[in-house]
Structure formats: C-alpha cells, structure tokens
Subunit: 225 residues, 2 copies
Amino acid sequence: MAKTDTKTRILDTAERLFAQKGFDAVSLRNIIASAKVNLAAVHYHYGSKQALIYAVIARRLRPINEERLAKLAEARANAGRRPVKLENVLECLFRPLFRVQADPKAGPTFARLVGRVIGERNEGLQKFMMGELAEVIIQFSAAFETALPGLAKEETDWRSHFMAGSMAHTLCNADLLVRFTGTDAGMSDYETTVRRLIDFTAAGFRAKVSPPPKKARAKRAPKKK
Amino acid sequence: MAKTDTKTRILDTAERLFAQKGFDAVSLRNIIASAKVNLAAVHYHYGSKQALIYAVIARRLRPINEERLAKLAEARANAGRRPVKLENVLECLFRPLFRVQADPKAGPTFARLVGRVIGERNEGLQKFMMGELAEVIIQFSAAFETALPGLAKEETDWRSHFMAGSMAHTLCNADLLVRFTGTDAGMSDYETTVRRLIDFTAAGFRAKVSPPPKKARAKRAPKKK
DNA sequence: ATTTAATTCAAACGAATGTTTGAATCAGGC
DNA sequence: GCCTGATTCAAACATTCGTTTGAATTAAAT
C-alpha cells in the first residue's frame, strides 16, 4: 500500500485523536506527531484548526445525513398515504449514524466524536453543526409530528430533545456503560444498540402525558411575582 | 450586605463562567477578572484549577446526591414491602438535580454545569465524578432493577444509560431546545421539565423488548472471522 | 535542462495558559 | 505599641498553543 496522502493522514489522525480526547484537548502538535507530518502542513491543507475540525466532521457526517434523508424518503414512499411508523423514523435517524461504528475504516472512533459535538460549547462549531443538521432536523421533526398525531407539538419537541440526549450520550460514552455497570456484552453489535435505543425512545415518545401536579390546579397558575 | 468572601466569590464566579463556556474554555484570568480578585488568590484558596473545578462541582452536587439518597430511602420506607414505583425512583433522581435551576442562589447556571460534566473527557474529572456518584449509582441501579422485575439486567443497564443521556442533555443544552424548535414556554418551570422527563424515561424503561432482527436468527450468530 | 507550481520543512512569533514567588497589606492577640 | 499568621498583590516563570514565515525540496510541464 502506497504511503497515504499527507492531507488525508492528517484528517484520519485528527479524527482519531479528537474522538479520544476532545477537540480542545488535542493540539495540532499532538496530531502532527502522530501523523508524522510537518506542523505547517495542517495550515497548508486546511487553513486553521477550526477548519480541520469542520473537515473531520463533515467527511463522515455529510454522507450520514444524506443516508438519513434518503432512508426517510424511502420509508415515506413505502408507507404510501399512511404516516411512517415511529420506529421506522427512529431507525432512519439512528442506523446510518451507528453503522459507522461497525465500519473498520472509521472504526469506533468517529461515532464518539459526533456524540461529543453536541455537548461542545464552541460557538462556531455549534453553528456549523446547525447548518449540517438543518435539513435533517426539519424533515425528522415533521416525521415525528406525523407519526405522533394527538401529541402536542410542545411535547413532541421536548421528547425529541430527550431522544437526542440518549442518542448523543450513547455514542459519546459507550465506554461509560462498561465502567458503570460491568456489562460489556453487545457493545460491538451496533444492531443491538440501535434496537435498544429504538425500543427506549419510541416508548418515550408514545408515553402518556401525565397531568401537572395538583398544587398548580388553578386555571391561571399563581405567579410568584 | 458585607462584601462577600474572596474564597466564595471565586467559587461563585467560577461556577457561573464554567457553566456558560465550559471548563477548558474559561481561564483563571477570566475568573479573577470577573470576580475582581487577585490571580494568586485562586491558588492560595484552592491550590489549582483542577481543585477549583472539583470544589465548584462538589459544593452543589454533594447536597443534591444526599437529597437523592434521602428521598429514595423515604420512598422505600413509604412503599413498605412493595417495590418503589419506577416514576417515584426517577423523581428522586431528577428533582433534587433540576430544583437548583429554580434556586436564585445557584441560578440556572449550575444545572448546565452538571450536565456538561458527563460529556467531559478530562480524566481526573471523570474519576472525581465517579467517586461522587458511586453511592447514587449503586442505590438507584438497585431501585431500577427492583422496579422493573422481569426486565433483563443488561437491558436495565442500557436503559439507565439512555436515561442518563436524556437527563444530562436536558440539563446541559436546555437552550438548544429553544433554538431547535422555537418553543420556549415552560423552560423556567422546572416542575414541568421534570414531569416531562419522567414521562419519557419511565415509558422508555417499561418498553417491550423487541426481538432481534430475523437475519440473525441462528443459535450461534455466524462470526465474520 | 529549465521553469513553474505544489508541497514540505525547521524555525520562529505573539499570545495565552496555569503556576510560583516574594514582598506588601491586613487582622487580631499579647 | 509590637508581633504573628493569614491574606492580597504585582510581577514574573516556564509551557503550550495556533499561526506565520521563508527557504528547501519535490513533481510536473515546457
């Protein structure tokens, strides 16, 4: 095998290290040392560390999001006039994302990286992710509402939020489960992980909305101020 | 009101800034500038930035965890010989944590901070949190298993994992919901947030375990290698 | 072979970080 | 008063960071 391109070797190494330790914790010098390239090569090929981060994310996330949308469109077509079943919507959302864990090229590294992005406070990164995810959010939000007729939009939004948390946490901290509980079976089997996540979140979406506590039973809740 | 203590003013300011931007992103100089104290005071009173981080977390988290355990013990006592209902277990776990959002002293800042800790890759911080949470994890894991007889332990662990993700994400990225969806009603009402989170996660815990996909129906799944 | 552009390299830059130092200031006990 | 310990302060320390520079090297085209 020919020596891989400098540009892609930087990208691969950055992906691996970012996934392991986070974006801030990994310096460009860590990357170039591990990738055995010159420091200036990073800026020559990518311009800045921020741009490198974006490139790392975009390379994997863009195909994932395309596949998500394609699968959802396909599910819509198969469903005809009926709404797509909630479990199928979730599968379209989860499977393309978790499948990269089984990809020997990407390895288990990238999934954790994506999971971590959500928790990042980096402003530019947030905006970048919003841009990348915009269409996915629009399409899947609509799909959730369609799959859950009768559930108030506000509740649907909150539950989407909870679902995103479960998804991100599972991606990012898969190793935590091992440490917490001692179990480690099935970690490698992403199919099972997706199935479990669908079971959990689908039931959460479908949960009965419990009434507010009695103490706030007045028509207009008394404002403290 | 007398000028607050230097030591606690550092702690308060650090808490606020850490919650806003994260631990790495906030420098000691940011803190001392905002708290109007001398740089060396941080090391004089806390020894290091790491120790300051621990102190910030421990101050709030320790009472929260104590309250969690106390409430769970109380619920156990009230339940007598019967297992504590799942929703009550979750309430013992969520309410003390989310209540700090309504605390004007702590403000909404700290909740986000706790949520963020979970996603941090900082090794020492991870171990510190494990130590702080050890008893909580033990007690509540047991409570979940008791409340969910018939559910395999492995499934219970995974679902606890998903639940933790929803909880952390909700704490950390409460503002995301606003940006994603446009809704913002009820954000301030932590009671409603807790109720919604309980609805979602309790249903998730109770979900029927769907069978593995048919293609893997063989007794011994064929290994690729 | 000569020219041209693309790429790699060692070295340095300026800024920011956590930490340490040693003197100055404050507080209270004798 | 004076002394002792606790606290504050300005200044510096040693690293590390992302980035830039300008020359050296490589590769391809004429």
